[in-house]
Every structure is written in C-alpha cells, then in structure tokens.
Amino acid sequence: MDQSRAAFEGIEAAFIEGRISRRQFIRTSSQIGAAASATAVLTSLGVPARAAAQDKPKRGGTLVIGKESELDILDPHSAGGWVTWRVSKQMHEGLLDEDLTKDNVPYPALIPKLATSWSVSKDSLTYTFQLRKGVKFHDGTPFDAAAVKFNVERCYKKDAPQFYPRANAYTTWLWQFLKEVKTPDEGTVQFVLTEPYGEFLRQLVQGGGGAAVFISPTALKKYGNEGIAEHPTGTGPFRFVQRVRGEKVVIERNPDYWGTPPYLDRIIDRPMPEPAARMTALEAGEVDMIYVPHPDGIAGLKDKGFKLMQGPTPHVWYFAFNLRDKNYQDVRVRRAINMAIDREGMAKQLLKGTAVAARGLQAPCCPSYDPNFKDYPYDPAQAKKLIAEAGFPNGFETTWQTSVDGSGQLIPVPMAEWIQRDLAKVGIKMKLRTYEWITYIGYWIKGTDDPSNKVGSQQMSWGMTSDYWLDIVTHSTHVAPPGGAGQNGGYYSGADKLLDAARVEMDPTKRSALYRKANVKIKEDAPAVPIINDLAPLMFSPKVRGFVHAPEEWYDMTTVWMA
C-alpha cells in the first residue's frame, strides 16, 4: 500500500506542478486506484499512510471550515454561487444526485436519492420517478409526490400561490421545457416536458444557480418565500442550527436521516474573505479546513503538515469575443489569439499549479468532455502570421474587460495582464477594463456590443457537469438582450444546429458525440478563448479524514470524520 501511495503522491506532485496533464493524472491515478484498494487511493489523497491502515472512521466531532466569501441566502431555489450551495446541499436533497464519493472518475455518476427509480416515456416527454418511502423533512413533514409538486411549482408555475419570481429566475434552465407536474399517487411523480431534453437528468443534479432539491412545504407555508432562507428545512443528512451573518453557519447531523448518517456531529462554516486570514486561522488551528488558499501560501502550509487537495472540476475561465467588432470578424484573428496565449505558463507560474490549461471550451467533468481534445498549440509566430493574413499586418488595438474578483474568478487581473503581455507579443495592443464583481456582472449581462458596454471581449468563469452548459454559453438564443438572458454576449450562432440536435437526443452515447462535434466546431470557429480550468484547491489539517475531492465543485460531507 505504501508503494501505491508513493506512486500516487509522485504523480499528484507532478500534476500539481504541471508536469503532467490532467488527463494523464486521471488515467494514471485510475490505474493506481485499480491496483490498490479504493480506500488506499482515498486515504493517500489526504491522509498519512501510517494512520490510514489503523484508523477507523470515528463518529463525532465538529469540522470548522474557512470559506472564501459570505454565503448567499440558504434558499436553494433562489441562491447562486458554489460557496452557498456547498452548505445548502448538505441540508437539501433532490430526486437524483451525483456520486461524490469517487474521485478517480472523469465525471460523477448519477445515483438515486429521493427517487429510487425512474423511467422515460417512449416519446421522451414524460419522466416518471418512484419516490423513496419513509423519508421525512427536518420538521417531520413526510416527503411525498405532493411535496415535489409544491416545490417545482414554486419555481416555474407563475399562477401558483407559492410561486417565487426569484426562484424562477435562478432555475430557468432546469424547468425551461416543463409543461406540468403530475402526481398519480403519493409515491410517484411525473414531469411532462414540451420537447425532448437529453440533459434533463443531469440538470436535475446541478447546484450553484438554483437547484432541483426539495424544501418542506410546511416550512415554506409557515415562513413564506422570503423567510424560508432563515429556516432551511430539507431532507438531508445535516440540518440547520444557526446562522450569524458574516460570522458562521452551523449545521448538525440529522438524527432521523433516512440514509447512512454522517460521522460528523456538526459543521461550522466561517466566511473569511481574506485569504491570509483563512490561512492564518488554519495554521493556528482555529479552522480545520479552508477553501481557496492563496497560491503563494500553499507551500508554506504544506511544510507545516497541512494537506492540499485539488482535482479536476467543471470550471472554465474564458474570454468570449464580440463577433460584431470589426477586429474579430475574421476567424483567423480569433484562432490566432487562441494560439498566442501561453496557458500552461499561466497555470504553472502565475497560478502555481492550482489550475491547468484549458483544452477546448466544454467544461471538464461532464460526459462529453474529451481528455484527448486537440486544442490550438501555443504558437505566437503562427499567430502573428494569421493576424497579418487577416489584414492586420501591424496588429490592432482592442479593449477587453474582466472583474477584479468574484466567485470562481481566481485572480482575474493578474491573469488578464498575463494575457495582455502575450497579445502584445503578437502585435495586439489590449487595453484592460476592470470592474468590481457585482458591477461587472451588470455589464457582462449586456453582451459585448451594447452601446453602454462595447468591448472586444469579456471574461467569465463557470461550468457544470452537464453537457448542456456548452449550449448555454454558445447558443445564439442565449445571447445578450434583446435575445435572452445574455450568457455569452458574443453573437455567435455557428454551433446552433449541432447544439439543437444534441439537446433533444436521448441516447447518451449519441448525445455525447453530438456535443463533442459541437465542441470541435466551436474550436474551429473560435468565438471564445478558453484559458484555464481551476482545480479548486483546498487545504486541511491532518485531523480531517475521509474527504473526497470528486470531479465537482461541491462535496459529500457524510464521508468526512475527525481523527
């Protein structure tokens, strides 16, 4: 077991230092995982080998986590951001879930949660779920089909009494094709769609921007749409204890949980926006675990015995071009820019291995993600040639924009400045415009060609373990107003046909193939420049065991225990 641990640590180190790519890491780690037992791989990710062999998980203990920002409201239908979802998810469950106990898989598998089985009708329009029996919400209300219907209608049915516009805004992609919810009996629920939606099931397990989980109808009626955020009531393995804004959120083990109970007694989340403060608190033992350690401080903490854990996540940091800008209308220019940027350099030197160079626009950790995807090579000479061929022998001037911070944005300004330097080398003078995060979203949403927001390119970072995400960021119906919600604002429609076909394809293999084709088309048309995939580093004290960094942006805390 020590041998495989050493081997694993070797490739882990190589991966973190950028010497091997993510796909090599996944492949090799799977091989090692197959050679050793699953427990060994798990423990070698975060636990000293000596302890792993003898220690058995212990019940009890409080885990204190230092988070990178304050949480949004604890209403899972109406809140955004992974920071909040990581807590809400412990308290609320949906029909399906992702298996987050396995870290050596390319993407998480779908497992039953509150639904024990499901089937899709022949016309692909009706999904029937058999509900688990004997499940209760934290306030004792029984979970049944009526509860499911009540929750879903809160999010999509405008004339329902419990309808909540904010929830509706956040869960648009989930329920966009939903016609009605039927409850043939209290143990069965049916969703009837208006058209086939291949990624529907994977969309049901997403979080971080409205989620398809269930809140107790009794609690919703009692506290109202606004008040429920102060009294989250789900069916999950943890239940809400207390929240002091800006200080902590406390959740505790649910003693009446229907499934395998967690080991931990309590989890306390402490928002600590300052990376230095987080790391100090970890070092002083005042927190057990922190998210987003500053890349510069990681080595120091590791020397003191703290563990770093990171891995592939569905996260893409990218710039989308304004295709109405005269500079970017020739595809050669866009391809050239893709070749001009040294992504590996940025990942290694600037981000110190806490991220890897992106390969294609599709987010990692979704079924159609291709680890063998051939993206543009880093070739500034060729880039310069292409730009000259496209009619800009002396380059051109352009303005790009990004935010100065924000959830998942990593360190946007230094990264943008790195890109600025790379572009200068091929003759493009890029002027950088920056805004604070919330202001930035206001501008980003308008698209790149709005009179009040004319830029050559703007940056965003997010992703999902669902292939449909590619559609959200590149389909022309999602372009800026007047079209829709404005997700990429670049005015690209080249992949629409493939994306439309993929959207309604129910066969997973065929669907993946279509999304892959779309991804290739998107690469060829280059409406965007994917730069980086974050590895979501986190650090914890050696006392924390059983933590799994699955290929997702949030975690299953029921496997965690304190030594």
Binding site: T62, V64, S69, E70, L71, D72, I73, G80, A169, V244, R245, G246, E247, K248, I268, R270, M272, P273, E274, A277, T280, A281, E283, A284, E286, V287, D405, Y435, E436, W437, I438, T439, I441, G442, Y443, I445, K446, P481, A485, G486
Partner: protein, 317 residues
C-alpha cells in the same frame, strides 16, 4: 454649566444633519448604476427601469435625501446588495462587537498611558523616562495593521499563547467571557498602542507642566506626601487636557479598530465596512459610517461636557 450643556447639545443637531448629507452624497459619488448592481445576472433594460423607480432614483436629489433620511430615522437602512438581508441586521451586531473591542482598547490605552505618563512625568530623565519616551515615540508611529501582524506571528502563531483570529472560539458550545477576553488581548493591544503612546506623552508633559508651575513645590513645602501631591493635585490639574485627548482617541480607536479587525478577523463594523467595500455593497458601507459617526459625535459631546465640568475656563469660552 447648564447653559454650556444646552449649548453643546443643541450644536450637535446641525452637525448630525450635515453628517447625514455628506454620507448621502458620498453614495452618489459611486461609479456604476445601483439598479444594475442589484439585478446582477437578471438585468434587462425594463427591469433596470423598474428597480430604479422602486429605489426612487428617478426623483431629484433632495427628495431622495429626505426619503432616505426618514427611513434611516426609523432604523431602516435598506437592503444589502451582496447578501439580500436588511442592512440593519448586518450592522448592529457588528457595531456592538466593535464597541467591545474599542472598550477593551480604551481600558488598555488609558491604564498604560496613565501609568507610563505619571511615572515618567514625576521621574524626569530617569531610565524609565528615557525608555518610556523612546518606546512611545516608536509606538506612536507604528501602523496598526503591521503591529497586529507582528503580535499575531509572535504570540499566536509561534508561541500559541493567544488565538490568531475571531472573537470567540468556533468550537466552544457557549460564549464565555473568559473566551472573549482571551481573544481580545492581541487585538486590544494592537488598537490601543498608538493611543497609549500619545496619552503617555501627554500625561507626562502635563505633569511636567504642573510641576513647573510650582504648585508641587508649594504643596510639598506644606508637608503633603508625594503620593498626595501627585494623585490629588497634580492629576486634578492635568486632568482636563488628558480627558480631552482621551475623547479624541476614542475616534482614533474606532477608526484604528478597522485595521485590527481586518488583521484579526474580529467581526466588528470595521471588518464589515471593509468586506462591503470589497463587495461593492455600498448601502452597508453607508449605514456603517453613519452609525459609527453618530456614536463618535455623542462620545465627543460627552467628553466636552466632562472637560467643561472639570475646567471652568472652557465653559467661559
């Protein structure tokens, strides 16, 4: 005395109004559209117009000001943009945490300042005096954030005597006073350092002044004990400027506490202002500045009244 009291109390009303105008105008300086900031990803042109109208942003400035003032007087500071809760809910608990820290710091700086100042003042040119004056000179010029970091490295991280962050232990089931005091030691020393140095120097020079003026010799000649001379007569005469400077220091403590709170993650209003500035959550910044300034004005009022009670010359001015 009563006349002075009435005059002083009456004079703070225009000041408070002026403060409210300044705070209101400060928010108008902000670049960017508040409606867009609130709507975030859901913003479209009609929604923006709707939010602007609901916020009253389409009305002229002075109407916006009076509306805002009316709400503030009722305790309604609006809603936080970043976390979607009433600002008052965020601000008040944090404010009391800062009061606790400022209170602890005040105790430290007054005690240390008085002791060092009196001993130095009555033993001029002794080794204690020289040491005291050098260290107060250095401390008075020390940035609070840097001192905090130094204390944290030495006493929290290296020696482990005190906690490095926060107000209470996260793991403890109950909040105890002992826990609070344990967490308060380093932040209080950090916040109090500059003020303690200033008070020490002032106390010393006031005492030297008093001694020079000859009281002390006369009193000694009449046979009073050293302790009596110092404590009853020397202190009484030196007191007005001392109380004055202590009152001024309260303002510095509340401002200086901001840096301490950021370094030690003390959940006070300074840290809240800082996080809200970073998050561009300006309604919170506005409310926090207003509340803190209001209290500062009241504290100054109190100090002036005490000084006037002690020193008749002030009342006549």
């Amino acid at each position: 005395m009563l006349r002075y009291l009435v005059y002083r109390v009456a004079s703070i009303v225009p000041v408070l109004l002026g403060v409210s105008v300044v705070v209101f105008l400060m928010m108008k300086l902000v670049p960017g559209d508040p409606a867009e900031a609130i709507l975030g990803p859901a913003a479209t042109t009609e929604k923006i117009e709707m939010v602007r109208r609901s916020l009253g942003l389409d009305k002229p400035f002075y109407i916006q000001y009076f509306r805002w003032l009316w709400k503030v007087l009722q305790g309604d500071f609006g809603s936080s943009i970043a976390v979607n809760v009433p600002v008052a809910q965020l601000v008040w608990p944090k404010f009391w945490n800062t009061v606790l820290l400022a209170g602890g710091s005040l105790v430290v700086c007054v005690v240390v300042g008085l002791v060092v100042g009196i001993v130095s003042g009555t033993r001029q040119y002794s080794w204690f005096d020289r040491l005291g004056m050098t260290s107060t000179l250095i401390l008075a010029n020390t940035p609070g954030f840097w001192l905090g970091l130094v204390l944290m490295v030495v006493f929290a991280l290296r020696l482990g005597w005190f906690p490095a962050t926060g107000m209470y232990s996260m793991r403890a089931a109950d909040k105890t006073v002992a826990d609070l005091l344990h967490h308060m030691v380093l932040p209080a020393i950090t916040t109090a350092a500059v003020s303690a140095a200033i008070i020490a120097r002032l106390v010393r020079s006031s005492f030297l002044d008093v001694i020079r003026k000859g009281f002390v010799t006369a009193l000694r000649a009449r046979g009073l004990s050293e302790r009596d001379v110092i404590l009853r007569h020397g202190l009484k005469n030196a007191l007005p400027p001392i109380v004055n400077i202590i009152g001024l220091q309260v303002g510095y403590l509340m401002g200086g506490a901001l840096f301490t709170e950021v370094v030690f993650s003390w959940p006070g209003i300074g840290l809240q202002i800082y996080s809200s500035i970073v998050a561009r959550d300006l309604p919170v910044v506005q409310a926090a500045v207003l509340v803190t300034t209001f209290v500062f004005v009241l504290v100054n009022l109190g100090t002036d009244v005490i000084v006037a009670a002690l020193d008749p010359r002030v009342r006549r001015a």
